[in-house]
Every structure is written in structure tokens, then in C-alpha cells.
């Protein structure tokens, strides 16, 4: 097969070369210069400009008709303003698009070269240039004013009655948090994230949980490093050598060292051990060697584990730093406690109709973007830098289903900032419903730190992102 392709390519090249030779000879005979475009060619290209223009316009018109209703009516209050701004913009640019392209193509087609004609010498005209500086300026000024009014409306402060929801992103899913009965979010800290506490909410339980998890990992890793066969064997060799030294030189070597090198004694704990102690250590290592904890690691793997161990210990220290928090400050204390009744939901979140929502966005790992096209809403989720956006939903999911004539329709929140391999399937359903339905739904949601959260959370092993983000639907 490959050979065949190669053959075709070679034959093709040879054929082209021959063709080229023939072409070159015939061109020489014809004596036509490449730069002299014939009248026929001029006419052809000129008519092609007109044909192209008409086909182009027809296709554009078709696209406008077939796809011009790009999204259903806006489901949020500010979105209505955005849509009318969009419509005005589209009308203006469509008019200019047709106008300018028509002038361009018609001129190109109309004034093609004729031998006996001379072009008009027309180097400049201040009045004309003024016209097309001033008119666009006026139109743009209008667009800027209208645009910024809409912008200010949508980015302003939320009212005091607004409810607050936090949207939290990670590779590759979303979590929403409702503040619970006290209407206040608990503090959160990325160091406290565990499988039971996916948002890292700061509570005493959260800290305990995180410490427990860290201690377990540290111990596990510590064991892995300690029970590495190579490490054990080299340690054992060291003890045995020392034992031999001890036997050869009797006791005095030991005494001398003890006086001179007191400072070193801590670092080399085995240094200067007695014979019995050494024997005991060796026996211990022998016993360890028979344990099924023993593993064999490559140099780099061992280094990686030691690194990881170091990082885990630093992590633990950061958690301990949180615990050292000063509890005399009553204000912060309440934020500390506030997390206990936070509600955490995955998969879908609900909004009551007609109520202003202040969204707070945070991210755990990389930048994501919370995009809700049906609400004309978008905001980046940036690790370390919380962002916000406010909106008021105006159409319930049910009404929108009627409008769209599609009983399956659902609003979605999707990720719109490339974030890794499953970026294309990072979504959450949004349900807009009556206040009553919403209240019922929220009541059913479990508060923070209950078992249910667990099943949703990704396994906290350093899995390759590819695996972690396996999309739910199958793709072949």
C-alpha cells in the first residue's frame, strides 16, 4: 500500500515535470507575457467578482434566515438589554457589510483595464475623507454609549435582597454552594480539600478530617520509603560494617568519638551504638525485610516519593497554621462556623425565578469559565482570585421548554475556558423554578459534610487527568 502511494507520487512528479516542459515551450511560442492580462481574462475576473458577490450575499442571507435566531429569548433580565444591543449592532454592521463589499466588488468589476482609457488622477479629497472619519465616529459614539449603559447595568452591585451562590470549578466538573440558613458562606481554604470536603470549607471537623487524611498519606508514604529494599539493605550494610569496626577496635574508639563529636551524635543516631544495640537494629531490619510492605523502587521513584513526602509535610504544616487561628476574634469565628450548614450540590443547581442572584466563582486548579449562554452570562473562575456576576432569571425551565417546544430542554452551565482533556464535557444543569419548588428542593439538599457528597467526589489519587475526566457519555 505504502509502496503504491510512493509510486503514484513519483509518477505524478515525473508527469508534472513533463507537463511543465511542454508548457514552457508552448508559452515561449505564444510569446504571451505573464504580466499582460488579456481582455478576456479581465472580463472573466470582473464577472467573477459580481458572481461571487451575489453568491456570497445569497449565502449570507440564507445563514441569517436559517441560523439568525442563534439563541432562544434571554432567560435573564439583563439579557434582554444585551439582546437589543446585539440586534442594533448586527443591523448596523450588516448594512455596512453590504454597502462596503458592494462598492468594492462593483468597482473592481466595473473599472477593469482597457487599453485606451486613463484612470482618473484623484490623490485626495479632504471633504470625502472628513465624511468617512466623522460618520463612523458618530455611529461608534452611539454604540459606545448604549453599550456602556448596558455594561454598567449588568456589572453593578447586586441589591441587598440578592441571594448568593458560589460556583466552584475543577477539572472537570462544577460544584455549587448555597450558604444555608445563616445566609453566609463558611470560609474555605484549598489546603483543606478532601474527598469529603470538596470545597475545603473551614470547620473544626474539616480540619480534623484533612489532618487525618494527611497523616494517613504521610504514614503510608513514610512506610513506603522506609521499607524500600535498597534503603533497608544499605542501612543494614552500614550497621554491619560498624559492628565489624567495633569488634576490631574494641571499645576505645567509641569513647574517643563520644567526647569529640557530641554535636554529631544527633545526626547519626546509630553512631556509637553498643554492640547489642547494633545487633538489635540489624535484627529489626531483617524482620522488616521479610514484611510484605517491602518494595523495590528505582532511584527516581524513590526520590519522587521523598519529594512527595516533603510536600505532604509542608501541606500538613499549612493546615496546622490554619488551626492556630485566633479564636478571640468573634467576627471571624462566625465565618468559621458558618460553613457547617452550607449546602453543596453537584450535577445540577436550582434558581428561583425572579430573584436576583449574586454568583461568586472560584476555581480549584486551572482557569475555567462559567458560561450560561441562555442567560447571556459568563465569568472566568480563577484559582486564587474570586470573581462575581449577578443576574435575575426570568423564565422557568418549564416555560422555556414550552417556548422551545422541546420537553427535554434544559439550561446549562458549561466551561468556556480551555482547561484540559475533558474541557468539552464540563457541564452542569441549571433549573429555574418557582420560589416554592426551589425552597423544597433546597430543603432536600444535604448540608455540608455528609456522606452523600462522598460518592460524587473524584478519587483523590494523583490520577492522570485523562482518566479523571472521562466524559459520561460514550464517544467512539
Amino acid at each position: 500500500m505504502k509502496l503504491l502511494i510512493l509510486l503514484v507520487v513519483v509518477v505524478g512528479i515525473v508527469a508534472l515535470a513533463q507537463l511543465a516542459r511542454v508548457y514552457e515551450l508552448s508559452a515561449k511560442l505564444r510569446k504571451r507575457r505573464e504580466e499582460d492580462i488579456s481582455h478576456a481574462d479581465h472580463r472573466l475576473n470582473a464577472s467573477l467578482f459580481i458572481v461571487f458577490m451575489l453568491v456570497f450575499y445569497a449565502s449570507v442571507a440564507y445563514l441569517y434566515v436559517a441560523y439568525g435566531d442563534y439563541l432562544p429569548v434571554s432567560a435573564s433580565e439583563h439579557g434582554v438589554g444585551v439582546d437589543s444591543l446585539m440586534n442594533i449592532n448586527i443591523i448596523i454592521i450588516t448594512v455596512v457589510f453590504f454597502l462596503v463589499n458592494t462598492l468594492l466588488f462593483v468597482f473592481a468589476a466595473k473599472y477593469y483595464y482597457k487599453k485606451d482609457r486613463k484612470a482618473k488622477f484623484f490623490p485626495h479629497d479632504n471633504k470625502l475623507e472628513m465624511i468617512w472619519t466623522v460618520i463612523p465616529s458618530i455611529v461608534l459614539a452611539g454604540l459606545i454609549i448604549f453599550g456602556l449603559r448596558t455594561w454598567n447595568d449588568m456589572t453593578g452591585e447586586a441589591s441587598d435582597e440578592a441571594m448568593v451562590i458560589e460556583i466552584y470549578s475543577k477539572q472537570f466538573d462544577w460544584t455549587a454552594r448555597y450558604p444555608g440558613s445563616n445566609a453566609e458562606f463558611g470560609l474555605s481554604n484549598y489546603n483543606l480539600i478532601t474527598s469529603n470536603n470538596p470545597l475545603g470549607i473551614v470547620t473544626n471537623e474539616g480540619i480534623a478530617e484533612s489532618l487525618a487524611e494527611l497523616d494517613a498519606s504521610i504514614e503510608k508514604l513514610d512506610n513506603e520509603v522506609r521499607y524500600e529494599r535498597g534503603v533497608l539493605l544499605s542501612q543494614k550494610a552500614k550497621y554491619e560494617k560498624e559492628l565489624k569496626n567495633l569488634k576490631n577496635h574494641g571499645g576505645h574508639g567509641h569513647a574517643e568519638h563520644a567526647e569529640g563529636d557530641e554535636a554529631h551524635a544527633d545526626e547519626h543516631t546509630h553512631h556509637g551504638m553498643s554492640e547489642e544495640q547494633l545487633l538489635a537494629e540489624i535484627a529489626k531490619i531483617d524482620e522488616m525485610l521479610t514484611s510484605d510492605l517491602v518494595s523495590v523502587l528505582s532511584e527516581t521513584a524513590l526520590e519522587a516519593k521523598k519529594d512527595k513526602l516533603y510536600r505532604l509535610k509542608r501541606h500538613k504544616q499549612r493546615v496546622l497554621d490554619i488551626e492556630d487561628f485566633d479564636f478571640s476574634d468573634a467576627q471571624s469565628l462566625s465565618a468559621w462556623e458558618a460553613g457547617k450548614d452550607d449546602k453543596i450540590v453537584k450535577g445540577e443547581f436550582h434558581l428561583p425565578i425572579g430573584k436576583e442572584v449574586e454568583f461568586v466563582f472560584r476555581s480549584r486548579d486551572v482557569i475555567h469559565s462559567a458560561y450560561m449562554p441562555h442567560f447571556r452570562a459568563q465569568m472566568n473562575c480563577v484559582p486564587g482570585v474570586p470573581t462575581r456576576f449577578k443576574m435575575t432569571p426570568t423564565i422557568t425551565t418549564d416555560s422555556m421548554r414550552t417556548i422551545m417546544d422541546n420537553p427535554e430542554f434544559d439550561y446549562v452551565l458549561l466551561c468556556n475556558k480551555v482547561c484540559g482533556s475533558a474541557h468539552f464535557n464540563m457541564q452542569m444543569k441549571v433549573i429555574v423554578e418557582s420560589q416554592e419548588d426551589y425552597d423544597n428542593w433546597l430543603n432536600e439538599q444535604k448540608t455540608f459534610f455528609v456522606e452523600e457528597v462522598k460518592e460524587e467526589a473524584a478519587p483523590e489519587v494523583p490520577a492522570a487527568p485523562v482518566v479523571e475526566g472521562e466524559p459520561t457519555a460514550s464517544i467512539n
Binding site: L16, L85, V100, A108, Y190, K308, I367, V385
Partner: protein, 584 residues
């Protein structure tokens, strides 16, 4: 330097380590053509996936091997291809390739200089460009694949190897390649600026410079002022990646581990990146506009309309391009008032752009237009520039950008206004100056076929993307079947892909014409287009120092076409003014 020092040159010093701007220009062009082939092929690969998601194509497996198991593009590979496609197109084809080719060729020739101010730096600039090209291409073959976070490589995604496979070795190579690339650009840019300021021949006042040179000058200034900022962004990113700093990182818990980073800001990177990134789109576009100004005037046999206004708008665009970068960041949570300022400055740019567009059209009006392939591409450029520029008005409006930011609407916009326009400008330049570069003509009929196919496929590919984007389809998605609300616009995807593939195939016509004509094209005459500028006073056969005798002297501007005082419809810049005749 003696004008006709015809000393013998070895093959190596003539073709490889040449200091001659004409040879370096050809080196840039040919490198860019190869990079262009790669970038177009990558786009065909991922267009196959987008047009027919999940379908198996044996061509994918042939070219991509394990990145397309069973002929289906892997999703990590998809992101890598998109990223490298964008990077190569923007930086290697349309920055290095476009400026490198035409600034090098035309600056000395059109201002009447024997060579660039520093031939050695010029050579160095090319070799760094080549080295960075090689590194960028080689990053496609490393473990984990090439950089995959998009051509903007935002951290933390690009900073953390845990975040995606492409953020490992591939990303490292990407960063190294970019540093070399920027060094190359700076060497080139400084050289262009110094040459234009200092080496103009007698009589070549700034107000007599062809618009190409004005465009190259402003482009070089933009590059020199903005590329260093990209280097800082990149160097800080390198430090975050490998030295444990946290300029861009804060509060990150990834792959089951809380990182020891606090206090950095990912947004800082975006400010630094776009401080280059926006001027960059004009670095890509201005040379194309300069080239088309020259070609449109020459082939309309009319002076460019509003020469001074054209210079003014180049300068205005250049200046404004430094204070609009925030329009890429409306949804990063920036202060809304700051957003308003960027809305204002961005929409201001529309004014000089409109002036340019109308001036082009007025230049055509009542012309005697020679529809050469170069002219066709220049007219096409005006159309793409206007069509793509108009949708910029929507994106500049922060309130509207919220809903179309990072969707296919943006992809449509920048491909038309920057991609198509700059490619059209570059192709126009190749058709127009090919006789100057290679002493031979390109075949005209093949040029016509190439233009019409490219125009149709260009719009056919990118125009429908507006509607895909407005319907809410994000960019950089491997496939869209996970979202039912997008199903109805996805009908457009196969159509787009067909146009893209036919468009890519029709570039073979150009490639054939190009390589064939280098060796076998019709031999060129000295001034085939009957143009006024100085490059056409040099002999067809290249000589060191450009003019065999004394340097030409300039007496008038470059646009005396169809001047009523003269019989001929062109008056080269070297012709003295008649008694009583005024300079333009």
C-alpha cells in the same frame, strides 16, 4: 561598500549564511511556506474531527500514529494540534514569515539602500527564526505531545504538568521556541527601524516613502515595544514551571495535592500576554495592509487615495493598539470601569480602520484596474478586512462580549480579519514581487484559479462559524455532542470542514506554481507591473548592493499613476519634477 564588488562567493555564504537581504528574504519566505503547509495540515486534521466527530479517517492514523488510534483523533492531540496550528500561523507564518520576507526584501529596495543596516544581525535573525521553527515543530513529537493550552498558553493550565499531558515537555519546548522567536523578531525589527531611518537615498523624504515602508516601520516599532513584554511573561512562566516560584499561581489543589503556592495571579499573565498579543494582531495585519496599498495603487493605475490619511491611520492604529489589550479580558473579573475604558479605546480603532477601507475603495473608483493575481488578492483583502473588522465591533462591546467571548464567533472574527487578510496580503505580495525575488514570473492563470478557490473557501470556512458561535458553541472543544442545545447548528460543521479541506487542497495549485516558477517560470522583465517604486529600477539579476551603479535619486512620491502631466500612466520616483510641477 563598493556597488559592484563582484567578488566570488562560495555556495555557503551565498545561499546559506548570506548577509544579503534579498537572499535572507527568500529564506524567510521558503521557511514560512513550509511552516504554513504544516499549520494548514494540522487544521485539516482537526477539521476532520470537528466535521465528523468520532469518525475514523485512515489519513489521521497515517500522519498522527498513536495520536489518532484507529483513525480517530485523540482529544489531547486535538488540543495540541489546535494550539500548534494557531502558534505557527500567528507567529511563524504571519509574523516571521510575512515581515521577514517583505520587510527584508522591500525596505532596502524601496528606500534606495544597498542592504540592511546590519547584514550580520539580519542573518542572525533568520537563523534564530529557523531554530525556533525547528523546535516548535519538534515539540509535536515529544512524550505527552505538544503544548495544548491554546496559543495563549494561559497558566495555571500551562504551568502545571499535572494539568494536562501537553503541559510537560511540549510546553517547555514551546516556551524555548518562543524566546528564540522573540529574539529573532527583535533583531529583525531593530534592523528595519534603523535602516528606514538612516539609509534612505537622496530625496527619499519620509513623506515620499511608499506605504509599504510606512507599514513595515510601524510594525517593527510595535514589535520592538511589545515583544519584550511577551518575553517577560514567558520567563516568569518558565520560572513558575521549573523553579518553584508562584508569579501566576495561587491556592491550587490539583491531581489530589494542594500545591505550595500562594499570592500569585493567573490574571497577571494575561495582562502581560495581551500587552503583546493585541499589538501582535497589527504586527500581522499592517504589513499586509501596506503591501495591498502598494498593489492596489499600482494596478488601479491611480495614486493611493489619501496618502497622508493612510499614514495617519497606520500611526493611529499603531498607537491605539497598545491601549486596548484589555478587550481580551472582559470576563476575567476585571474592574468594570477598567473594562469601559478598554471598550472606548478599542472602538476608537475602528475609525482609522474605516478610513483605510474607504480609501482603498476610492482608489479603485474610476481606476484602470489590471486584475493581476496580486490585485485580486488585494481586493480580497479589503473584503476580508472589512467583513472581519465589523464583527470586531461586537467583540469590543464588553456587554456583548460576555456572551460570545471564547466562542466560535471569536474564531470566525479573527480568522477573517487577521488570518484571511494577512494571508491574502502575503499571497498578494508573493505574486507581485516574485519577479523581483526570483527573476521569473508566476503563472497568471494558475494564480486566478488559486485566488478564486481561496476566496470562496476562505469565506465558506469562516463565515458560518459566526453562527455556530452565536448559538453558544465554545471554542477549543473536541466535540459538541455533549450539548443538546447546540445540535441544530452542528449541521454547519461538515460544511465548514468541506470548505476548509477544499481550500487546503487548492493551495497545492499555489505550491506547484511557486516551486515550479522558481526554476521554470517565464523570465521576468525589469518592471513588469510598470510600477513607480525604486525596486523596479534594479536589474533582474540580483547584484550585491542592489544597484550596479550609483544609488538612484528620488524626486517624487511613489504614486504618480495616471498623472495628467505625463503621457505614460506611471512616473517612476526617479523622474525629476517638470518645471512648475509640484510634488503631490
Amino acid at each position: 561598500m563598493a556597488a559592484n564588488a563582484h567578488h566570488e562567493e562560495s555556495f555557503v555564504s551565498k545561499y546559506i549564511f548570506s548577509h544579503d537581504h534579498k537572499m535572507i528574504s527568500k529564506q524567510f519566505l521558503i521557511t514560512a511556506v513550509f511552516m504554513g503547509i504544516v499549520a494548514v495540515m494540522l487544521s485539516v486534521f482537526f477539521r476532520l474531527q470537528l466535521g465528523w466527530p468520532g469518525q475514523s479517517f485512515s489519513i489521521l492514523e497515517t500522519f498522527l500514529g498513536k495520536w489518532a488510534p484507529d483513525g480517530v483523533l485523540d482529544r489531547n492531540a486535538y488540543l495540541a494540534l489546535v494550539t500548534i496550528h494557531g502558534t505557527i500561523m500567528v507567529f511563524f507564518v504571519l509574523t516571521g514569515g510575512l515581515s521577514g520576507t517583505f520587510s527584508n526584501l522591500l525596505i532596502p529596495l524601496q528606500i534606495g539602500a544597498r542592504d540592511m543596516a546590519s547584514g550580520f544581525l539580519n542573518m542572525l535573525s533568520y537563523w534564530m527564526f529557523l531554530a525556533s521553527s525547528v523546535i516548535m515543530i519538534s515539540s509535536l513529537f515529544v512524550e505527552g505531545g505538544a503544548a495544548s493550552g491554546g496559543w495563549t498558553v494561559y497558566p495555571p493550565l500551562s504551568a502545571l504538568p499535572q494539568a494536562m499531558p501537553g503541559s510537560g515537555m511540549g510546553m517547555t519546548l514551546w516556551l524555548i521556541s518562543m524566546v528564540l522567536f522573540v529574539a529573532s523578531s527583535l533583531l529583525g525589527g531593530l534592523n528595519y527601524i534603523v535602516t528606514i531611518i538612516n539609509l534612505r537615498t537622496k530625496g527619499m523624504k519620509m513623506t515620499r516613502l511608499p506605504l509599504t515602508i510606512w507599514a513595515f516601520l510601524v510594525t517593527a516599532i510595535l514589535g520592538v515595544l511589545s515583544f519584550p513584554v511577551l518575553v517577560s511573561a514567558v520567563v516568569l512562566l518558565i520560572m513558575d514551571r521549573s523553579m518553584g516560584t508562584a508569579f501566576y499561581l495561587s491556592d491550587i489543589h490539583i491531581a489530589g495535592e494542594a500545591l505550595d503556592v500562594t499570592g500569585g495571579s493567573p490574571i497577571l499573565y494575561q495582562h502581560l500576554f495581551w500587552f503583546l498579543g493585541h499589538p501582535e494582531v497589527y504586527i500581522v495585519l499592517l504589513p499586509a495592509l501596506g503591501i495591498s496599498s502598494e498593489i492596489i495603487s499600482t494596478n488601479s493605475r491611480k495614486p493611493i487615495f489619501g496618502y497622508r490619511a493612510m499614514i495617519g491611520s497606520i500611526l493611529a492604529i499603531g498607537f491605539l493598539s497598545f491601549i486596548v489589550w484589555g478587550h481580551h479580558m472582559f470576563v476575567t473579573g476585571m474592574n468594570p470601569f477598567l473594562g469601559s475604558v478598554f471598550v472606548f479605546t478599542t472602538l476608537l480603532i475602528a475609525i482609522p480602520s474605516a478610513v483605510k477601507a474607504f480609501n482603498y475603495i476610492t482608489t479603485l473608483w474610476k481606476g484602470n484596474i489590471r486584475l493581476t493575481p496580486a490585485m485580486l488578492f488585494s481586493i480580497g483583502l479589503v473584503s476580508t478586512f472589512v467583513t472581519g473588522g465589523l464583527t470586531g465591533i461586537i467583540l469590543a462591546d464588553s456587554a456583548l462580549d460576555v456572551n460570545v467571548h471564547d466562542t466560535y464567533f471569536v474564531v470566525a472574527h479573527f480568522h477573517i480579519v487577521m488570518g484571511l487578510s494577512a494571508i491574502f496580503g502575503m499571497l498578494a505580495g508573493v505574486y507581485h514581487w516574485f519577479p523581483k525575488m526570483f527573476g521569473r514570473m508566476l503563472n497568471t492563470k494558475l494564480g486566478f484559479a488559486h485566488f478564486w478557490l481561496t476566496l470562496v473557501c476562505g469565506f465558506g470556512t469562516f463565515f458560518p462559524m459566526h453562527f455556530v458561535g452565536m448559538a453558544g458553541a465554545p471554542r477549543r472543544y473536541y466535540e459538541y455532542s455533549q450539548f443538546e442545545f447546540l445540535d441544530w447548528v452542528m449541521d454547519l460543521q461538515p460544511i465548514i470542514s468541506v470548505f476548509a479541506i477544499v481550500g487546503a487542497i487548492s493551495q497545492l495549485i499555489f505550491l506547484f506554481n511557486f516551486f515550479f516558477s522558481i526554476f521554470r517560470g517565464q523570465e521576468a522583465s525589469q518592471n513588469p507591473w510598470q510600477a513607480n517604486t525604486l525596486e523596479w529600477t534594479t536589474p533582474v539579476e540580483h547584484v550585491h548592493g542592489n544597484w550596479p551603479g550609483a544609488l538612484p535619486e528620488v524626486h517624487r512620491w511613489a504614486y504618480d499613476y495616471s498623472n495628467p502631466n505625463y503621457e505614460e500612466d506611471f512616473v517612476p520616483q526617479t523622474v525629476p519634477l517638470k518645471a512648475g510641477e509640484e510634488d503631490h
